[in-house]
């Protein structure tokens, strides 16, 4: 674990996870991607949102894992779920059926309008610079959830003017372009990074810096963004992690590491 001088006592990954977890209200039905979304969602469940409903694409509804899953289909997810359904059912009745409040996603790239790329790096599909794992469940989560949240580290490789490949729809080209596309839901309402939180402008839908983690400056955020980052008129200062938040998150990661024989923290 590396500690930065500007926010001693916790890592950027930790504050990112904690801030994301704080936003998840009790009772929310959350479709959870593996990795950071899963860590944040489970932290929320352990903290203030005991009745948050976590759905994983393996078909586990109301999952309550004691340790973080390493894969989307860990037995841990099934063991304590309210019910386990088939994969086609998850995508038919629960995702396309419009039953997801928050689709909580990661990605390799996010662009100025919250569109996501998890397919390739490079612009030639046939000859990519890097071949990524692919879409998985994201395109339909992004176009059917009532809103989507994106959790992603912020730097010039990840925050790009335009995604190399549009895997999953955000606000498309901004304005009312998403609404016109036939996508349902509000689209990305928050992008939570290790520097702060971006939200779409109400009219243009361009991602705008709305909050910063303790010790992070607007200049740092601008420097880590691949477009001319707009700044909200009032940038919120995100509260530092509480002791309870940090202990709960670290306990979760330690239990997970013991169970899997490996740390799942992405830091």
């Amino acid at each position: 674990m590396s500690f930065s001088l500007s926010h001693p006592g916790y890592t950027p990954a930790e504050i990112m996870t904690i801030e994301a977890s704080r936003r998840l209200k009790n009772g929310t039905v959350c479709f959870v991607g593996i990795g950071l979304p899963s860590a944040a969602a489970n932290l929320a469940r352990l903290m203030h949102a005991p009745d948050v409903v976590l759905i994983y694409e393996s078909g586990t509804i109301g999952a309550k894992p004691d340790v973080l899953p390493l894969s989307i289909g860990d037995g841990e997810l099934a063991e304590y779920a309210d019910t386990v359904v088939s994969v086609p059912e998850i995508f038919r009745y629960w995702v396309q059926g419009g039953r997801i409040d928050v689709g909580f996603l990661g990605a390799a790239q996010v662009d100025r309008f919250g569109n996501l790329n998890s397919t390739i790096i490079g612009t030639d599909y046939a000859k990519p610079k890097v071949r990524l794992p692919g879409a998985g469940g994201a395109p339909e989560i992004a176009s059917n959830a009532k809103e989507t949240w994106i959790i992603i580290k912020q730097n010039l490789r990840t925050f790009v003017e335009k995604v190399d490949f549009l895997t999953s729809v955000g606000h498309l080209t901004g304005g009312d372009s998403r609404e016109k596309s036939g996508a349902r839901g509000a689209g990305p309402t928050a992008v939570i990074s290790d520097l702060g939180v971006l939200v779409p402008d109400p009219v243009s839908k361009e991602l705008t810096l709305a909050a910063l983690h303790p010790g992070v400056t607007i200049e740092q955020a601008k420097a880590a963004t691949g477009w001319d980052l707009k700044i909200a008129s009032k940038v919120e200062a995100i509260a530092p992690p509480t002791q309870l938040e940090l202990v709960t998150l670290r306990d979760l990661h330690e239990r997970t590491a013991r169970a899997h024989g490996v740390a799942t923290t992405t830091d």
């Binding site: 860990d74 994969v87 397919t119 599909y125 998985g136 176009s143 549009l166 596309s181 349902r184």
Partner: protein, 282 residues
């Protein structure tokens, strides 16, 4: 009644032929690894491999030259990283060129459902705004005759052969899939021929009334292969071998080491039990 219970090597020999389309399905849980190894041992070639989540066993089959085409929606080593043999094949054509057809999970699931339902196509509320349809001619659109809405349409999947792994079969060959059942039922019912490997064959399935049971007459072969899903897991039997999944990252990175490992562990062992012993897994 002739029984569908036979050895895995017999099942692969009888039912899997060069040039076929094959789905070895399993969603993180119950991945039919042993069956993939046997297909590698029997040197099947020019296969179209179909799977929502190709992972280690498809990396092995691709790296050993079984595949010519891959249909998928997410390819990776879950919790670890990329598939090196998969990348080497599609980026560098090693050991042979492999083409891809890429979809989303929701779409693949719907395509299997259509296949199982005797329908030629699946309708999906999906791909809105996505670039995927630009690169996949199998993703078309269809207009609702009632509302005029435009939705995605994709062709049914009907593999020549589907292989799954499950917990139990009874002596008639009825198979119980328990826990995360994934897309297995649909993949079996969509296939022209289906094979199930199971952890054990028992006198009585003891299946709850609404459990996922595949009747024996939907399966051409049922093969008892303990630990047949390793390094994946079988709920109630054994856990995922996360250490092996991480080790695969190292084994598979370079061509030479990969080939050496496959030869030593898979090609030179006659069956899964001996593979497990030889590879130090069990």
């Amino acid at each position: 009644m002739t029984s569908n219970i036979m050895s895995l090597s017999d099942a692969i020999r009888r039912f899997v032929k060069d040039g076929q389309s094959l789905a070895l399905e399993g969603f993180t849980h119950l991945i039919p690894t042993a069956a993939g190894h046997e297909i590698i041992r029997q040197k099947r070639r020019e296969l179209t491999l179909i799977r929502m989540t190709p992972d280690i066993v498809y990396d092995q089959m691709i790296g050993m030259g079984c595949a010519k085409h891959l249909v998928f929606s997410w390819g990776g080593n879950p919790g670890v990283g990329s598939l090196h043999r998969f990348r080497d094949a599609i980026q560098n054509g090693w050991p042979n060129a492999v083409t891809i057809a890429e979809h989303s999970h929701a779409d693949m699931a719907g395509r299997y459902q259509a296949g199982a339902s005797g329908l030629p196509f699946s309708v999906l509320r999906g791909y809105v705004g996505s670039d995927l349809p630009k690169h996949n001619p199998d993703i078309k659109s269809i207009t609702c005759p009632f509302t005029g809405e435009v939705l995605a349409a994709t062709p049914a999947i009907n593999p020549d052969v589907t292989v799954i792994h499950a917990q139990k079969a009874d002596r008639k060959g009825n198979v119980l899939v328990h826990g995360i059942t994934g897309i297995q039922k649909e993949a079996v019912l969509a296939a022209k021929v289906a094979i199930a490997t199971v952890e054990e064959i028992v006198d009585n399935l003891e299946a709850p009334m609404n459990a996922c049971v595949l009747p024996h007459w939907t399966l051409a072969a049922v093969c008892e292969v303990p630990m047949g899903a390793h390094p994946s897991y079988a709920h109630g039997y054994y856990e995922r071998d996360n250490a092996f999944c991480r080790e695969w990252e190292v084994i598979s990175r370079e061509r030479e080491r990969f080939v050496e490992w496959m030869k030593a562990n898979v090609m030179s062992t006659p069956n899964h039990a001996q593979f497990l012993t030889y590879a130090g897994i069990r």
